[in-house]
Amino acid sequence: MSQPVVHITNLILKYHHKPVLQDLNWIINPGENWLLRGTSGSGKTSLAKAIAGLVPFQGTLSMHFDEQSKLPAVAHYVANWFQFTDLEGQSNFYYQQRYNKQATETTATVKAELEDYGKKHQLQFSDAEKLVAALGFSELLHSTLIQLSSGEHKKLQLVRALWLRPQLLIIDQPYNGLDKLSRHHLNTLLEEISAAGTQLILISNDRELPPSIHRFAEIKDGQLYEIAADKHVSHLDETVNRPIPSFLNETPAISGDSVIKMVDVNISYGDKKVLKNINWEVKAGEKWLLQGHNGSGKSTLLSLITGDHPQAYANNFYLFGNKRGSGESIWDIKKRMGLISPELHWYFDASATVRQTILSGFFDSSGLFCEPDYTKKTQADELISYLGLDEYKDVLVNQLPLGKQRLALLGRTIVKNPELLILDEPCQGLDQQQTQYFNRLVDELCKNGTTLIYVGHFESQLPACIEKRILLENGEVKSVENILESVSQ
């Protein structure tokens, strides 16, 4: 039998001085495609980065690529977020910068970025065009990187990896931010490259995988175990049965009957119309699901509500009963809502601790800039315990694994018990257990008259309380419906 492609013996890896992987062993033979699972913080990303040669470790890791193959003899790692840069190679972007128009564009277009990548790796541009089309991305070729939504960044990242066709391709959270159809297309493309010789390692808790994935592993207590295909990640969390902190059980201060009212709202960038004649009313206490494929205008719609879009001032819409642009500040708006989104996560102040992060929810700031009073501190601590984050309280958020980061930011979102919750793919990066658990928390919170707008692609992972759905397509409202029965399971 030929040599294994990856042969790991007694791998030890530390992350910020804490042991993550302990004497881990793994053999990946030619032709094998693996799925890697594990609870948040189990070390999936660390292991992937070690294989790709991106982090130091102890122990032995040998790789044997097929010398006969035409595919590049590399292990290529695709991170869970695309770190793009401006034309000068910097990546100092800030939250919601993409909505502010400045006459001189400083980031490359998708097309230029791909051409550059193709040149570097000697790839045919026509191959990329096919992938771009297959992922429904063609009309964005002339958009600049900063204008893309998180799902669109993910697609660009995937196009680059699929185009490269390395002998070993490791994708961390391949489905994050992708709509249902794109996930389906992605699986077809993964199937194709796997048939052509690329071996896959996917890191995901998703259940709809390409059929070529036939081996499954879980990291637990620093070691790797092979598991059955249909095994749930079992992780009993003692927080599940804990009662919700009492201050979150109170009815939030409700400002009026109508929370959001949009009348013929339009947003365009130059000639490109992103939202067209949107009419939508959200009444106090309603629980909405906002859906639409990638690029349908969901993020833009939400950015209007959260006070983050400059074009809000040119439109006719009402927030909490007041016409937008009638003298209120964005801080007046933000104090009534709790928000989480992939973008907020990405641009969040990385130098804040978990406790500071959660406390900053009282002030709607990214990072904590003032000394909170006693009540706020007590409430934050209660919530930290409830979320099972006690031991991470004083750890910097950016030193935590993705799932724990998310949990801290979710704590920030709800800590002030706001009257409106906007949860834009809140469970990205959480494992199944955490997702279920968080959705139950949302249900609890929403019992007391809280208004909810929830964005999620995965029907199976929604809170039970959702009762209405608005569907966007190409910037228009495609349908508005009551979905009392259909979604919750």
């Binding site: 800030y94 939250y95 003298g327 500040s329 130098s351 800039f369």
Partner: protein, 493 residues
């Protein structure tokens, strides 16, 4: 028009120079109320104009932009910036007559023309806001007596002003009221409300005067901020080339080194920057920087004297009149320096290496910051003001050098700063010629600690630490930095 400062009696000169108070956050409890419902019209829509306007509008204020007819008809960048973000844009004639506050965010050079064009259109009792006092103080612009004249100057580039605001913070800001133009006594209240509108009140506000702002701002930018960073970069690079260090390495060490070194300065002042060196290296850097201070002090004093007497602005305005003849020639010459023309090499330089292999740069920065601070304070400027215009801004300017070397620095700073920077650079290089002949690669290009056992005399080290730490710029800096809690750290390369 004659220089406003020079028309003042000495008593009043000292009075206006010596203003700079750090304002308590309780001063801002009234929020934006003083400007609520009023019409704010911004003249100019570049980086500062656009980003301040976005913040003010998001704070619930009524903002529109006025541009010259040609800019509107030609659909220039300023017009695009304003219209694409859904602001109302109009000519001076259309918007100024109804404006309660007119905000002049055009470049210094255009101020006289702009103010002469808008003043007759302004309604009685309106307010004129500047973000720099040059026009009032140095050119002596006289504003109609019914108009209130105030200044609000965010101490950061426009994009930072926006980035910090949207994360719920702000950038440190300086405000002032012109004593000759405060007929209704509303100037300070409006300036404070404007600060709340841009988010500056969350990051620390200094109450200054037009005079103090101009005289300290000019001094800082000419000497430590731009002048010395330029001189230090060029001399360090040239020395490495002369001594056979790889050009790509030398270029990268200087280009990114200033940023990495001054990041320590930003977090913890001169003390933190010097503490990044080993004990032996620190003592050496201390000794050279003392020497540099002695050599350069007369030049720093000359710059401060010329700024105070109005000599600097007089010669610069002559150059304006001559179509920027000197400025353009000097700019071109800077573009031709070897440092500018040598791209940074594709070598990995570790964060600590930027300190260990560039001891000379550390010494330059300590000498420059302390000299600028000392010279300003001796001239009657308050330490708070002197701190902002020296130590506080150095990392911000160093950041522009890291982006695209001196070209980028000189592009980002105002023409006024750029002009002063060249004046300093041209005088400083000959002054340091003799000193530089004694510099070898242990000070710049190679690790100073190499081949040394690292031992130092305890008493010598204690004495050096004492001098560094007890400097007034460190005392005031520690206090002011506490107030600016959450400064973002620059990503190192």
């Amino acid at each position: 028009m004659s220089n406003y400062f020079n028309t003042l009696p000495l008593r009043e000169k000292l009075n206006q120079l010596g203003v700079c108070d750090f304002m308590d956050s309780s001063e801002f409890l009234d929020g934006v109320n003083a400007l609520k419902g009023k019409k704010l019209v911004i003249v100019g829509c570049g980086a500062q104009g656009l980003n301040q306007g976005l913040n003010l509008r998001d704070s619930g204020l009524n903002i529109s932009y006025t541009l010259r007819k040609e800019a509107i008809e030609g659909k220039r960048d300023s017009w695009k910036n304003a219209t694409e973000n859904n602001f109302t844009v109009g000519t001076y004639e259309e918007l100024i007559p109804d404006a309660d506050v007119v905000i002049n965010l055009t470049p210094d050079k255009q101020h006289t023309a702009v103010v002469n064009a808008i003043m007759p259109l302004m309604k009685k009792g309106a307010t004129l806001l500047y973000s720099h006092g040059f026009n009032i103080v140095e050119e002596g612009m006289q504003i109609r007596k019914d108009i209130t004249v105030i200044m609000v100057a965010p101490k950061c580039p426009g994009s930072e002003v926006r980035a910090e605001y949207v994360r719920g913070f702000g950038v440190p800001t300086l405000i002032a009221v012109h004593p000759e133009n405060d007929p209704e006594g509303k100037g300070l209240v409006q300036a404070k409300a404007y600060c709340v509108g841009t988010g500056g009140h969350r990051a620390g506000v200094l109450k200054s005067s037009f005079v103090a702002e101009v005289k300290s701002d000019l001094m800082g930018e000419q000497t430590i901020l731009c002048g010395l960073l330029q001189t230090g970069s060029i001399l360090s690079f040239d020395k490495m080339i002369e001594k056979g260090i790889d050009a790509g390495y030398a270029s990268k060490l200087v280009q990114y080194g200033v940023e990495v070194i001054t990041e320590a300065l930003k977090q913890g002042g001169i003390t933190a920057m010097m503490d990044r060196l080993s004990n032996v290296a620190k003592i050496k850097a201390f000794e050279i920087s003392q020497e540099l201070k002695t050599i350069m002090r007369p030049l720093f004093q000359k710059h401060q004297d010329d700024i105070m007497s109005g000599e600097f602005s007089r010669t610069m305005m002559e150059d304006w009149a001559a179509g920027d003849k000197n400025l353009l020639a000097w700019r071109a010459a800077t573009g031709e320096t070897a440092f500018e023309k040598t791209p940074a090499g594709n070598v990995k330089i570790g964060e600590q290496e930027y300190f260990d292999n560039a001891l000379l740069m550390v010494a330059f920065i300590r000498a420059g910051v302390e000299l600028a601070f000392e010279t300003m304070v001796e001239a009657g400027i308050k330490p708070e003001s002197a701190y902002y215009e020296s130590l506080h801004e150095t990392p911000l300017i160093a950041n522009t050098i890291a982006r695209k070397k001196l070209f980028e620095m000189n592009r980002v700073i105002s023409d006024t700063a750029e002009y002063g920077c060249y004046l300093f650079d041209h005088a400083c290089k000959p002054l340091l010629a003799d000193f530089m002949t004694r510099v070898d690669t242990d000070l710049i290009g190679k690790n100073f600690n190499e081949g040394k056992d690292g031992s130092v005399d305890n008493r010598a080290l204690i004495a050096v630490n004492e001098v560094i730490r007890s400097h007034e710029v460190e005392q005031i800096g520690a206090e002011l930095r506490k107030a600016m809690t959450a400064m973002k750290s620059i990503k190192t390369v």
